[in-house]
Every structure is written in C-alpha cells, then in structure tokens.
C-alpha cells in the first residue's frame, strides 16, 4: 500500500522553507538598502495592505476566479475532446494540428481588444482568453497521453473483443491521466494569468482591473497587494489540481512516473 512516507513531508517542508527564506531575504534587503516603498515594498507591508484592502480584493477576486475557472473548463474540455478525435481519426489531426499551433502563435494581448469588440465587456472574452491559454499544453499532452497505450494492451482489448469506446474508457482514458494532470497543473496557473491579462485590457472589475486602477492612482502598496492575491489564487488552483491528481491517479507512485 502506498503510504505517504517521510519523503512527502520533507518535500512540503522544503517547499515552505524555500519560500520563507525568500521572503525573509526580501524583507531584509528592503530594510538594509532602504528601498523606497514605491520601488519595492517589503512583504510585511504588502501583507498589511492585503488585510486592509481585503473586502475590496475579495470583491474583485470573485469575477477573476469565475473567468479563470470557466476558461480552465472550456480550454481543457475542448483540448481533451480534440485530442481524443486526433487519436481515433488521424486525418483530423493532420488537418487541425497546424491550426492549433497557429492559434498558439497569436499574441493574446493583441487579440484581447478584438474579443472585447466581438463578445462585449462581460465574462465571455475573459473566459475565452483563459481558455486559449490553457488549451494548447493540454492538447499536446493529451494527444500523447491517449497514444501512450502500449501495443500489448491494444492487442489485449482487441482479443477480448472490446469496442473502440470500451477501449477508450477502460484503457486509453485512465492511461492518459498522468499526462492530463501534467497539463492541468500548467493550465491551473496560466488560466488565472489569462483572465487577469484580459481584465487588464478591458474591464471594470476583477484583479486585472484593480492592477490598472492601482497603477493609475499610484497606489503602489495596493498594486502589490493585488499581485499577491492573484498569485495566491493561482497557487490555490495549482494545489487543488495536485490534490485531485493524488486522488484520481493513485497508481502513479506505483508506476514510478
């Protein structure tokens, strides 16, 4: 049975120790070098600002979280379906993969204004941007993941007369889960950034809007507080995906992947 050994806790501890050391060094550097607040505030000042602005931050956190999550679901959902189509119908892959790469090469910052024109000022354009940013890594990973089934498993499913659907559900899908979660971990953080960038360009709410507003008002401490909350949101999304992976791919440790 897989019991989380001392290694897991050591890894967690190591992660926290690294972060803590970083913040302590930051705090010390700002104090010793007497860096002005508007250039770089110390972490303690940012934290105090987060507490002070908490109701405001929370109000703007909500739309960003909705957009990020919506984009996460949409982008990954489409990527998974498309990857499944690629594996079963190679001509579809040949036809659409270049298009997917093309989509990837479009600078998102440049098309955001267009999306605002097309889709309005509501959630829709932000969700689309967050989806676009999550889409490509998942498509690439899942195309590999669905093809990761070994030849012998395929032959086994054939000799027991499994249908294509049964083979997909019972073998391809579970076999692809480690690949899926690698991709979802990337998407979990990037979808938050996508949503923020989209708000930054055109919105009157959300953490991205708050970044712009704080910059205009020269409210440097609030700007940093917003950045901190955005990072925490992305970190939270990442941790949720990592926890889901532990739950849904318990054999991952067995296989030593």
């Amino acid at each position: 049975m897989s019991v989380p050994g001392a290694g897991v806790w050591l890894r967690w501890f190591g992660g926290f120790a690294g972060l803590a050391a970083f913040f302590v060094a930051w705090e010390a550097a700002v104090a010793i070098l007497q860096v002005p607040l508007y250039v770089l505030p110390p972490p303690s000042a940012i934290w105090r600002q987060v507490l002070r602005d908490w109701p405001l931050l929370l109000r703007h956190l909500q739309p960003t979280a909705i957009e990020a999550f919506g984009g996460f679901a949409l982008g990954n959902g489409v990527a998974i379906l498309l990857a499944a189509a690629f594996v079963h119908w190679p001509p579809v892959q040949r036809a659409l993969f270049p298009l997917a790469i093309g989509l990837r090469t479009i600078p998102l910052v440049a098309i955001t204004p267009l999306l605002l024109v097309w889709l309005g000022y509501g959630y829709a354009p932000k969700i689309v941007i967050a989806a676009l940013i999550s889409f490509f890594p998942t498509l690439v990973n899942m195309t590999r993941g669905f093809a990761a089934m070994d030849q012998q498993s395929l032959e086994l499913m054939h000799t027991i007369s499994a249908s294509t659907w049964q083979t997909f559900v019972k073998v391809r899908w579970p076999a692809s889960l480690p690949y899926l979660f690698s991709a979802l971990k990337i998407a979990a953080t990037s979808c938050v950034l996508g949503a923020v960038v989209a708000e930054w360009i055109g919105s009157d709410r959300g953490l991205g809007y708050l970044v712009v507003a704080a910059t205009f008002e020269f409210a440097i401490a609030r700007l940093w507080a917003t950045i901190a909350v955005t990072s925490l949101l992305a970190l939270l999304a990442f941790l949720v995906v990592a926890a889901a992976e532990r739950f849904f791919v318990p054999w991952r440790d067995d296989a030593g992947i």
Binding site: E155, S161, K170
Partner: protein, 259 residues
C-alpha cells in the same frame, strides 16, 4: 456425424509484412493443427514467426495467403464468440486496476453481470493460486504473480483454446517450473486446447503433447515431435532420462531447422 473441427487449423498460411526496408516474409506455407484439448508447443529461432502464428489465430493479424480456422470458424468470429483467450509475453495488466478488476476485465467487456463476473474471477484467481491478492495492484506483485493474474484473466471467459506467447520468459527458472506445473493442472482441469510459443526446449517437452519446430525466417514447419511422456506429469519428470531424450531430440531438430 462430422468429426469436431480442430481448435486451430493453419492451412498453407503465409505472412508477408510490408516494412520500410521492403517486404519481409515472416511465415511461408505453414500447415498445422491443434486438436481440441491438445497441448501443442511451437519452438524456433528468434524472429522465425512463432508469435505471428499466435497473432493470426487471435485475429490480431490476417494471413497474406492460406487460411486460418479456429473451431472451424474465422478467427474474427471465434474471437467474438470468446472461444479463445490470449496470454501475452508481458502480463499487460492495467496498473490502475486491482488483480480482481483486471481478471474481471474480459467479462466486463462482454457485458456479463456483476455477480457471475465476480464469481468466475474469484474462481480463476483461486485456480492460479492468487487467492488473497484480489485487492492488490499489479505493482505490488512479483513478475510470476503478475503472469498468474494474466492467466486468470484469460481463464474467466472459460475459453476452449488458450494462445500463449512465451508467457513465462520473464520469470526466474524456479518460478517457471512451478508455473509450468500449475499450467498443466489448469489445462487438465479446464480441458482447453493450448497453443504455446516458447524459447525453452525443456518447457516445451515438459508441457506438450506435440512440439512443432519452425525453421528460421521465413518460418516453415520443419518437423513435429509427438512427446509420449506419461501424464499426469510431475515436475520430477523433467529430470528423467526419457525427458532428456526428448529434449535432445527437440534440440537437434531445432538446430537443423535453424541452419
């Protein structure tokens, strides 16, 4: 009354693969049959098409020429009737499934009800000596135990024919001996015909009614040996002069065939 058809019948079968370096002829003009309940082993040099033979019977490949019949039907319809099971060189267990769930897989795919599925899987697991490990995942088992689970999985559909592709090549010598002995017990209990591909001459002699020796590529039937060692065969029979005699005959045939 018609005589009942052979479990497997290869009739002048040839297989040619198209590869990047051109056409590769794997099998040529192979005729061979396995009677119901018979244990037949195929030996031959590496790359002589032994596994190809099994894959033809299992409907994984189709022959370029000649005919393959499984219980008088095409391999495809025998496959759909679940008349045979295949055991691969690699156990090919699904790592996310427990032993029980792996063994149930063929019945699950066949749409068998939960209760019968469970009963038959438990029975098959007992037959291969894995009782008590139903809840273990493949990674927690030794190589020999994994192959036992793969055999149990093959047995759940109660096939009349087992196609076995070097199933014990990855386990150590002593484990192989034990698995050989258990395979004979399973064979006599189930009455299934077995077509068994192996590299090991001693294994072929111990297990088989008949040994088919293939030539090097393209594989052709070089000779057949009818092993008349008495049954049931205890493991000790491997060390008798009669068994040595058969082993050296088979080795000689293999050397001549591979020349």
């Amino acid at each position: 009354m018609h005589p009942s058809p052979a479990a497997v019948q290869f009739d002048r079968v040839g297989v040619t693969f198209q590869s990047q370096v051109g056409a590769v002829e794997a099998l040529r003009d192979v005729s061979l049959s396995v009677a119901e309940g018979e244990f037949v082993s195929v030996i031959g040099a590496s790359g002589c098409g032994k596994s190809t033979l099994l894959r033809l019977a299992a409907d994984v490949l189709t022959p370029s020429s000649g005919k393959v019949k499984v219980f008088g039907e095409t391999p495809a319809s025998a496959r759909r009737a679940r008349a045979f099971s295949m055991v691969f060189q690699d156990p090919a267990l699904l790592p996310w499934r427990t032993v029980l769930a792996n063994v149930e897989l063929p019945l699950e795919v066949a749409g068998t009800g939960q209760q019968i599925r469970r009963e038959r899987a438990v029975e098959a697991i007992a037959l291969v000596g894995l009782s008590g490990f139903e809840g273990a995942r493949p990674a927690q088992l030794s190589g020999g135990m994994r192959q036992r689970a793969a055999i149990a999985r093959a047995l759940t559909v109660q096939p009349k024919l087992l196609l076995m592709d070097e199933p014990f090549s990855a386990v150590d010598e002593l484990t192989r001996d034990r698995l050989n002995q258990e395979l004979l017990a399973i064979w006599s209990r189930t009455g299934a015909a077995i077509l068994f591909v192996t590299h090991s001459i001693e294994e072929a002699v111990y297990l088989s009614d008949r040994i088919v020796v293939l030539t090097g590529r393209p594989g052709q039937v070089y000779s057949e040996l009818r092993v008349d060692l008495p049954r049931p065969r205890a493991l000790e029979i491997k060390r008798t002069p009669a068994a040595f005699e058969w082993s050296s005959r088979a080795r000689l045939a293999l050397e001549e065939a591979s020349r």
